[in-house]
Symmetry: C2
Subunit: 395 residues, 2 copies
């Protein structure tokens, strides 16, 4: 038996994304643990940063106009009328011909509009000599120039990076609202699978099981908490039970093996599928329904199915934005493609160029190891020519 | 006092990378814990994968030539002379007019050169009817087509990804040789720093300390194990002691604050620096020597210094290859740049275009939050024009 009809990729993806819902649970985690987590709410600043105009350096607050005529050979003399100690605010006002000594972070005194770095003046007693003009605003950090009160500074769906954590700290946020990680059950099926290679295993036609470590790491990378349900032999009851248990315990379930229609491909029989069989290549027999993906057994097909479907489902579940890097690259090889297929072409991106990894075959893990990105060729395209510029997605 | 002379960026980077040495310690970690770790040795396969020509499907092993005339309206009849049970090898030889039933993974019988998927034939008793021709090699996974015995399949310096772990598992490697993570001490200095924002703190000219969480996450991202040595006030003895302790305990030390020549910038006095003051902007006052970086206090300067110097040092320490994503983007804005400065320009990359984040100022964390990549403008360039295509590096 074969698939009667393959569903176009975009149609299947739409069905999937309409079926998957965003997780509503919010966890509050310490800043220290928030790296790479997905923000569950907009973060709005409750104050201006900086809270007032302040000095960005140790130096002298002045009226910039007073310095416009300053030259090395004819310095301008200003009188220092106050020295603001660390942790205090200026009490005096700067008027023409005067300066106030301030430290980094201090409020800019009234009347001043610039700060001269202390290294830039000659000090003699109560006087300073300014050798070069300063512009209005120089060395002043203006009120709200970093963040304005009420501004949305980090948006829901942001995948938190080092600089985002620094910003959260600056805003006084100690406990960060992030999406709960989707629990993703991983069920590996197949009586032909063994845990490690050996002569005997090879003679018996066994295959080393590699999907669990790959899917576990991919789920981890794309916001999920992987939960392994072991390697299940091709026995109808055991597979049914494993799927039932995983569905109960997880937000999403990935079953590898059993997506085709062989005598022992059971998995797809226990789930009401929204689609089964799509135009993607490799990975055509993928099925999905009731929060369960029925995937191939071959690692390369599983990898393509993950990137073309599962990744997008996980991103929707946590509401993640900007979870892919897409870029333009010049093809170094022709990419012929079959009409009617949505091809997942593995490429090696480097220095603006994409080299096509020509090893074919859904079992050829080395083709994944040698590549770092993929090119998608939709159903209505016969492919691309060497030298063409195409969009690729890094992985 | 000012810097007498700024060292060109490339010269400083070369001094740094000549000084930093690769860590020789190798840790053997379980596959499960090897994601994102850096491979310490080449991985060479001890066997061919697959170990012999084997069937990629459940079906019938045949001589492809026998099927060339097969048509739906005039099927070819073949005699099934053996059915190889799961876990056994074929005993018979395929000759003209015969076929052997094989399961996925089984050895290809002698004489056969292709496998017909079982869904593609009509079976009647001991006979099958072939409706379409198969090509030589079809549905055969050839010996060594994935990995050849003796081949270097993963190179030293690889940052391990999900598919690499799958490959290691296929090769029977349970314990992965990776570089020990460099221990990176982080010392934050500055009496003006507080842990959280408050009205009082602002009035006193205090600044919320954000470098520790940012550097900790950056070190984590770039292969290191961050070790925090707390926030040290601007007191000569305490800073000297902290640097001494961190140097003893760590492979690399990052000290923020105190890189300039203010009265209270002590840090640079305790280390024999290879360079101090470079052409980078922001972040000019960076110093390095004796495995210690003396960095700015301002978050944006620290961030730039990390990407322009520290990141490359860490990558060298673990021997990591391909640790940056560099891509071409069309500039959406002019980028004027000062001759003699190596500028670190923050951009927002999206859909092939780079928008320049115009907020200036080394304290403006929001400029980092709004960007996701940087453009470097070297000393001899006056900048780029809107519409030009430039290289950027993602962060």
């Amino acid at each position: 038996m074969e698939f009667k009809k393959l569903m176009p990729y975009r149609e299947a993806l739409t069905l999937l994304l309409n079926d998957v819902t965003e997780i509503q649970d919010v966890e509050h985690v310490p800043l220290d643990e928030a790296l790479n987590r997905v923000l569950a709410q907009d973060i709005i600043s409750e104050f201006d940063v900086p809270p007032f105009d302040r000095s960005a350096v140790d130096g002298y607050a002045v009226r910039a106009e007073d310095t416009f005529q300053a030259r090395e050979y004819s310095p301008i003399e200003l009188k220092v009328i106050e020295e603001v100690p660390a942790g205090e605010s200026p009490k005096m006002k700067v008027t023409s011909g005067t300066a106030i000594k301030v430290l980094t972070g201090a409020k800019i005194p009234e009347g001043a509009n610039a700060v001269i770095m202390q290294e830039m003046v000659k000090r003699e007693g109560e006087k300073i000599y300014v050798l070069r003009p300063v512009a209005p605003g120089q060395n002043v950090a203006f009120k709200g120039e970093d963040v304005k009160k009420g501004e949305v500074i980090l948006r829901k769906g942001t995948i938190l990076r080092p600089q985002d954590l620094a910003m959260l700290k600056a805003l006084g946020i100690k406990s960060v609202p992030v999406k709960r990680k989707p629990r993703v059950g991983i069920i590996i099926t197949g009586s032909e699978l063994v845990e490690e290679p050996s002569e005997d295993a090879f003679e018996e036609g066994k295959i080393v099981e590699t999907n669990s470590i790959m899917l576990k790491s991919l789920v981890h990378k794309f916001f999920g908490e992987p939960i392994l349900y072991g390697v299940i032999p091709d026995e109808e009851d055991k597979i049914r039970e494993a799927i039932k248990k995983a569905k109960r315990e997880c937000d999403l379930v990935l079953v590898t093996g059993g997506s085709a229609f062989g005598d022992k491909d059971y998995a797809h029989r226990f789930v009401k599928l929204l689609f089964h069989g799509t135009t993607i290549k490799p990975g055509r027999p993928i099925g999905y329904g009731e929060r369960v993906f029925i995937m191939s057994g071959y690692p390369v097909a599983v990898f393509a199915q993950f990137h073309l479907f599962v990744k997008h489902a996980l991103a929707k579940m946590v509401g993640a934005r900007d979870y892919e890097v897409k870029l333009r690259a010049i093809l170094e090889d022709d990419v012929p493609s079959q009409l009617g297929r949505h091809e997942f072409v593995k490429v090696l991106y480097r220095d603006g160029k994409a080299k096509v990894i020509k090893k074919k075959g859904s079992g050829i893990i080395s083709s994944l190891v040698e590549s770092n990105a993929y090119l998608e060729v939709p159903e209505d395209s016969e492919g691309y020519r060497r030298g063409e510029e195409v969009w690729i997605t890094l992985y």
